[in-house]
């Protein structure tokens, strides 16, 4: 509404009371309660009534600067010809805060979201690296196992080759005090000696698991003296297979004793197996 051009009051009333039906309009225009007031004056009273409504509100004191800003805008009219409200530079902390706080909050939320995203990605990458490392270790373990299996296969192949060599000698081992038929129940073994009398392969069965603090020790008897060929242990249910590329010259017997862990220089423990070279027989 610009000023009070003709009809502006009517427009206001119509806006407030508008779209009235005939009888409704008459009810408010009826002068019965206003003692003969004419319609134009009635309309004027309506306008003033509406214009008075803001007086029912608690007054709000403007900022002190508002008055000066208004007068400054009016004073600038002489130069431009039109009064316009140009707000002079002034501190407006509330407005700035009103703009800055949401922006700061938005940036903070965005930063947190970004940090959360990056943190999530970092955690995912860490999990991926850990998974890859575990997989690598698994592969390395597999490689080790494969290598061990390959070595075992090669050894088995060598042993098989030795056992199948033409002219190999086979010597049975059993407890010295047991008869030839006792091997079925007790421990027993078979020593295969290559024709070069250097390469050998020993297969032992039925030995008790190695007692704590002890080891089984293999001896070759050459020229009447026992020569240690090394120690070994026995796990429950596992057969023992030993082999080597060397054997003392003049070996005439083989024995296995139970000795302290690490072995000894000469056999002192109980003898568990004995094989006499005289009983060996050449096969093939």
């Amino acid at each position: 509404m610009s000023g009070l051009r003709s009809g502006s009051h009517d427009e206001l009333i119509l806006e407030l009371l508008g779209e009235l039906e005939g009888d409704e309009r008459e009810s408010i225009d009826a002068p019965s309660d206003l003692d003969g007031i004419d319609r134009e004056r009635l309309r004027r009273l309506d306008v003033e009534l509406l214009g008075s409504l803001p007086f029912a509100l608690e007054p709000v004191e403007p900022r002190p600067e508002l008055r000066a800003e208004l007068l400054a805008a009016v004073a600038g009219e002489g130069q431009s010809g039109v009064a316009s409200f140009v707000r002079p530079p002034r501190e407006r902390p509330l407005r700035r805060l009103g703009w800055a706080l949401p922006l700061a909050a938005t940036l903070a939320v965005a930063g947190l979201a970004l940090a959360g995203l990056l943190f999530g990605q970092l955690q995912a990458q860490k999990r991926t690296v850990a998974d890859l490392q575990a997989e690598l270790e698994s592969v390395r373990g597999s490689i080790t196992q494969v290598a061990a299996l390959r070595e075992t296969m090669l050894e088995a192949k060598r042993q098989l080759a030795l056992v199948g060599t033409r002219g190999v000698e086979v010597c049975p081992l059993r407890p010295r005090d047991a008869g030839p038929a006792a091997g079925v129940e007790g421990p027993w073994g078979v020593l295969y000696v290559a024709p070069d009398h250097q390469h050998w392969y020993l297969s032992v069965h039925g030995l008790e698991p190695t007692p704590e603090g002890h080891a089984y020790q293999l001896w070759f008897v050459a020229d009447g003296r026992p020569v240690s060929a090394g120690t070994f242990s026995v796990e429950p249910g596992d057969p023992v297979e030993l082999s080597s590329e060397t054997m003392p010259a003049g070996t005439s017997a083989v024995l296995v004793t139970l000795e302290p862990t690490g072995g000894v220089a000469e056999p002192r423990g109980p003898e568990v197996l004995f094989g006499d070279g005289a009983e060996a027989m050449r096969v093939l």
């Binding site: 610009s2 000023g3 408010i28 009273l45 803001p54 208004l70 007068l71 039109v82």
Partner: protein
């Protein structure tokens, strides 16, 4: 036009306002300053009630008073008092802003919150008279049935049409009109002497 048998009996305060507007026509900045001192707090309360924002309300009051300054020649004392003229200009600008925002309900809630913190004590004779006028108006508004006061305030302070009030409240349009008419009639009858002083 004024009927010949009913001479105008405007209050001294209203006559002073009209003199100030006449001085505006002569580009008297002091007159504008005085009009500001006499009405700014009431206009600011109006704009804040409509918009719910103190800062926007101050901008609206600034714009309205610049319009008063630039269009002083258009003021017609036969059509309204000066205060009503300024009220209608301020309300029109505030409602325009409100409609641009299209968030009337949110504003209403904000205004209700702000109202309790913006009381200002009156000072000076003019302020006392204005304060007494406000008290009488508030008293009469309080006497209105709630449903009649509600439709009147929605129409005036929120710029809602009768049809919009009906749609928003779910009340039949005819009932909205009737309530508005009854509110106007009661207020007009109760405040007749105050209103006559403005003519």
């Amino acid at each position: 036009m004024e009927p010949a048998d009913r001479p105008r009996s405007s209050s001294p305060r209203e006559l002073e306002d009209r003199q100030l507007v006449s001085r505006l026509v002569e580009r008297d900045q002091e007159a504008l300053a005085e009009l500001y001192d006499r009405h700014a707090s009431m206009l600011l309360a109006l704009a804040q009630r409509v918009l719910g924002s103190r800062e926007e309300a101050e901008e609206v009051v600034q714009e309205a008073l610049l319009q008063v300054w630039s269009q002083a020649t258009r003021y017609d004392p036969d059509r309204s008092s000066v205060s009503t003229w300024m009220v209608l200009i301020t309300r029109s600008r505030a409602i325009d802003r409100l409609r641009n925002r299209k968030v009337i309900e949110r504003t209403t809630v904000a205004v209700q919150r702000e109202e309790t913190t913006t009381h200002a004590s009156p000072a000076g004779v003019g302020a006392v008279l204005r304060y007494e006028r406000g008290l009488r108006l508030r008293r009469e508004l309080d006497r209105l049935p709630e449903e009649q006061r509600d439709v009147l305030e929605r129409a005036f302070f929120q710029g809602m049409t009768q049809r919009e009030i009906a749609e928003r409240t779910g009340i039949p349009l005819g009932t909205v009109k009737t309530r508005t008419l009854l509110a106007m009639k009661k207020l007009r009858a109760a405040l007749q002497s105050d209103l006559e002083a403005l003519l």
